[in-house]
Symmetry: C2
Subunit: 330 residues, 2 copies
């Protein structure tokens, strides 16, 4: 038998003791798409929930060239040296069956992958962002119940996944690099607005002048976004993973922002908002999947009529609702 | 009898002849919330659909101090002098029962309200943006069937309504004013990104230097948003309604952008996308209303459990789906 199965109770007990193997199996259970795994997965999460919520959840984003893995390796190693235990997760909806997964190649985090106080979990495979987001958010609960004090959720700069990561973390960090023409090149619109903290990475050697220029550029640019729900301005810091400079300042800035968030109530309010968000999001996601699978043909037909100008989108929606609620009545 | 009723057929014939009174009655029928008006309203829209789509639909946004009414009055008068017939509509979900409606006071458009080639319709009353958006989009269809060559949809700078207006217009124009400290003050995040064209308004007299400064500022700031679905850069123009300067350049720039959009296929593609968007949007809107009214208590209970950390948002959504689809099965 290839894979040993465990009861949710047993996994829970061992996971609470900090057993990495149990944590790995628990996450695999959560990620499973087999219907028989659904119930034990739910039980396990519900068991872990009362022991979750005590970590700091960091979202880390940036384009492929920004050096996210290198940064997480250096920053994470600094964190564990300072007494933290960290879990590194990833959201990468494009990864498919782990091909090109941003964390698939663990060797990209040389130090961290050998660090006993760090746990690295590659991005779950999945076709829909909703599914991947759900699995990642549930994995955060497991990691917190297993005792990790900081959770780093990495995402590649590909649009919607940033919004998902921001909606499951306490603080969203954006990595940028100096130079390269327009510094926003490759960064999707709206991503910069999500950031609670911007780091100009690779600020070392010959790049220092460019890095300082980029820092000023972003300080100005971020000034263009005055209204943030946290009420905080966005610091723009310099850091180098190779020279290991700026990392302590990043950590202290994060702790400082978190303290302010906790004092002014934003921290707690944001976590509640996030829970409400995922409830609505998940419900609407499931509802639309259900409707589209039950009324696929009707939808396709009415959509064609709408696109050909035969009917208005609103009349078509009315018609679909009659079919949906009508079929419910019989 | 206060209100004379007309058959949709009769309204349609008179509206197609350009009869303003019939158009007004037709819009009132569309806006009606009485259930007996629903069917004739739908018939009327379906009758008008084949004659719609030939106008240029402009979205016009800006904060209350930007002088939208003054601009539309001057710009619209210039348009009718150049041979256009224009309809001015508004989206203002905050207007409630016309109190503070941005177009409620027609006298704010002195010239246009007396112009035989212009038709001004105040914002429909409505509590939900979805409802107001639907009525406005249907009103566009009626106005186009009545022969108007340009439809101006005005919206106040209050967030979501801009997205709705952008999703029903061919070109989104943002009015800004010079000076006033940070020029983006009061403009919601993300609004600038929606713009196809930015106008620095009130560029006259003493304000000219500030206006030129603002123009340069926005040309630089808009450079930060490199990826637009249209593939076009965003012109930043100066205009004054009082001195009637820059208005012809605005019109020529709009015509030029529309020509490019039509040539590269963006115009047609965007309209199709918009129809698909409103179909999905309206369907999901109705679905969620239906679910929340049918399962309000279940939702409230599960939401409370989620916010108290008793259950995960995803398990709660699963539970709700079982109730929704379960109740369907019986």
């Amino acid at each position: 038998m290839e894979r040993k199965t465990h009861s949710p109770d047993e996994l829970f007990v061992r996971l609470r003791q900090g057993d990495r193997v149990a944590l790995g199996r628990a996450i695999t259970l959560i990620e499973s798409t087999r219907s028989i795994d659904r119930q034990p997965a739910t039980e396990l999460i519900e068991a872990c929930l009362p022991y979750s919520g005590n970590s700091i959840r960091l979202g880390i984003s940036g384009t492929p060239g920004a050096g996210k893995s290198t940064f997480i390796d250096a920053f994470g190693t600094m964190l564990t040296a300072r007494g933290h235990s960290i879990a590194v997760l990833a959201i990468d909806p494009s990864s498919g069956v782990h091909h090109g997964s941003i964390l698939g190649d663990k060797t990209r985090m040389d130090n961290l992958s050998r660090d006993p106080k760090a746990y690295i979990r590659p991005s779950p495979a999945g076709s829909s962002l909703g599914g991947v987001a759900r699995k990642t958010r549930e994995t955060i609960v497991l990691c917190e119940a297993a005792g990790f004090s900081q959770i780093l959720v990495e995402t590649v700069g590909v649009g919607q996944s940033e919004t998902a990561v921001q909606a499951m973390t306490d603080l969203f960090v954006l990595l940028l690099i100096p130079g390269a023409g327009d510094e926003l090149q490759g960064i999707k619109r709206g991503i910069v607005e999500l950031a609670d903290l911007v780091i100009i990475h690779k600020a070392d050697g010959d790049r220092m002048a460019l890095a300082r220029e980029a820092q000023m550029h972003y300080q100005r640019a971020l000034h263009l976004y005055p209204e943030r729900s946290s009420g905080q301005s966005v610091p723009v810091l310099l850091a180098s993973s190779i020279e290991q400079t700026g990392l302590v300042q990043v950590e202290e800035t994060i702790q400082n922002i978190i303290s302010i968030f906790k004092e002014n109530g934003h921290f707690q309010a944001q976590r509640k908002d996030q829970s409400g968000f995922w409830l609505r999001e998940s419900l609407m996601d499931q509802l639309s999947t259900w409707v589209f699978s039950r009324h696929r043909e009707d939808y396709k037909q009415l959509e064609a009529d709408v696109l050909n100008g035969k009917t208005s989108p609103f009349s078509a929606a009315d018609e679909l609702m009659r079919k949906i609620t009508g079929s419910k009545a019989d």
